[in-house]
């Protein structure tokens, strides 16, 4: 009997000690981790807006150039020239694709796209997210509807060349861009009018 009580007490004490240690470590590290995540997010917003910044100087660059506001319940980031950026997310082929889309002042021309997280097929689908490919999107118009076409087919201002090996990822990205752009434009327009 005594053995059993000791056994239960031992497990309880050991569990409590480790739990306390974990809570302590979490309380100590989570503010720092939170800061890293925030810096990463801010960096992706700055990059999409085309504002140059230095590593370690992200917060200052963000505070000096970007203003956060809520439009119709959605978070929007505005640069000094009136360009806007917002977070986008949607399902890709393998997993969720998330990132930041920046539009020019006219709310329909793409200023920049940064991808924060994606798990598309390495070497095939994820080639869409190479900087050279994403740079092609700059200056394209998202409205009335945006199309990512097979390479060499894009001719209008709302069309862009995709990547041969990444047809499905291109379709997914096209869907995300169209849906998110519409959602945010409606929200912003609703406030303006």
């Amino acid at each position: 009997m005594k053995d059993k009580i000791f056994m239960i007490a031992f497990v309880l004490v050991l569990g409590s000690v480790w739990t306390t240690a974990l809570v302590g470590v979490d309380a100590w590290t989570s503010p720092i981790i939170e800061k890293h995540t925030q810096a990463k997010q801010r960096a992706s917003i700055l990059k999409a807006l085309g504002i140059s910044y230095e590593e370690g100087n992200i917060d200052a660059a963000f505070a000096g150039n970007v203003e956060k506001s809520e439009d119709g319940g959605l978070e929007v980031y505005r640069s000094r020239e009136g360009a806007i950026a917002f977070k986008i997310a949607g399902s890709g082929v393998q997993d969720q694709i998330s990132g930041v889309l920046a539009l020019e002042k006219d709310l329909k021309t793409i200023k920049g796209i940064t991808i924060v997280a994606q798990k598309e097929t390495p070497g095939l689908g994820d080639r869409v997210f190479e900087p050279e490919t994403l740079a092609r999107f700059k200056g394209k118009v998202l409205f009335p509807e945006f199309h990512i076409l097979p390479p060499g087919r894009a001719s209008k201002e709302n069309e862009v060349d995709g990547v041969t090996s990444a047809t499905l990822t291109c379709q997914a990205l096209q869907k995300i861009l169209n849906a998110e752009a519409k959602k945010y434009r409606d929200a912003i327009k609703g406030r303006v009018e």
Partner: protein
């Protein structure tokens, strides 16, 4: 051997030699095979994984061997699990907070240290029965053994699969990469050859019935 005896005492020297050679965790007891196969495609991954395993192994050795007189026999496995899991979570959090780039590169591997059977295996086979000094020696020796096994496999695989070593190009330009070496199948070939060579050299008997 004489040198090891001088450094760590008679018992300690034997413990150390067992860990790095005659009772090698990967070669002799075939523990830790999962990670030796999964993350040895690049040398830098192997180094990061080894560092994590060595840290958790030593931490477990200190805690389990100091508690060994009080741990009730029926809950000893739970004790190992709680200790190992908590240690790994702490490592993961600290890496995320202070070394975010390393943490990102290692991705899910840090969490997988929990399931590395070397740690459980040594806790059950050694730490629970021996005093702290010898347990820590055993942990370090096993850690070294695990590290060089991983490095040996990773060096062969990275050179053959990518033509690089730690990211630097070492093979001539005409070198054709062996795609199979980057895949799990390649790991089996290399690890199998490694086990064959070391087992023959260390004169390790196959388990009965094999």
């Amino acid at each position: 051997m004489a040198l090891l005896k001088k450094m760590f005492g008679a018992r300690g020297g034997k413990v150390f030699k067992n860990g790095i050679w005659s009772d090698h965790p990967v070669c002799a007891t075939t523990l830790g095979i999962c990670s030796a196969l999964a993350i040895t495609n690049k040398v830098e991954n192997a180094i990061a994984m080894s560092a994590g395993v060595v840290f958790v192994l030593v931490l477990t050795a200190i805690i389990i061997s100091s508690l060994r007189k009080w741990v009730p026999g029926r809950v000893r496995i739970i004790t190992y699990m709680i200790t190992i899991a908590s240690g790994v979570i702490i490592v993961d959090q600290v890496l995320k907070a202070f070394f975010p780039t390393i943490s990102e590169a290692m991705g899910p591997y840090v969490g997988l240290i929990i399931t590395n059977c070397i740690i459980m295996g040594r806790a059950e086979a050694f730490f629970i029965q021996n005093r702290t000094y010898n347990s820590v020696l055993d942990a370090i020796a096993n850690g070294i053994g695990y590290t060089y096994a991983l490095l040996a496999v990773a060096v062969v695989r990275e050179v053959l699969a990518f033509g690089t070593l730690l990211g630097f190009r070492v093979m001539p330009g005409i070198w054709q990469n062996w795609a199979v070496m980057a895949m799990p199948a390649g790991a089996f070939f290399v690890l199998g050859t490694f086990l064959w060579i070391t087992r023959t050299l260390a004169d390790i008997e196959p388990p009965p019935g094999a």
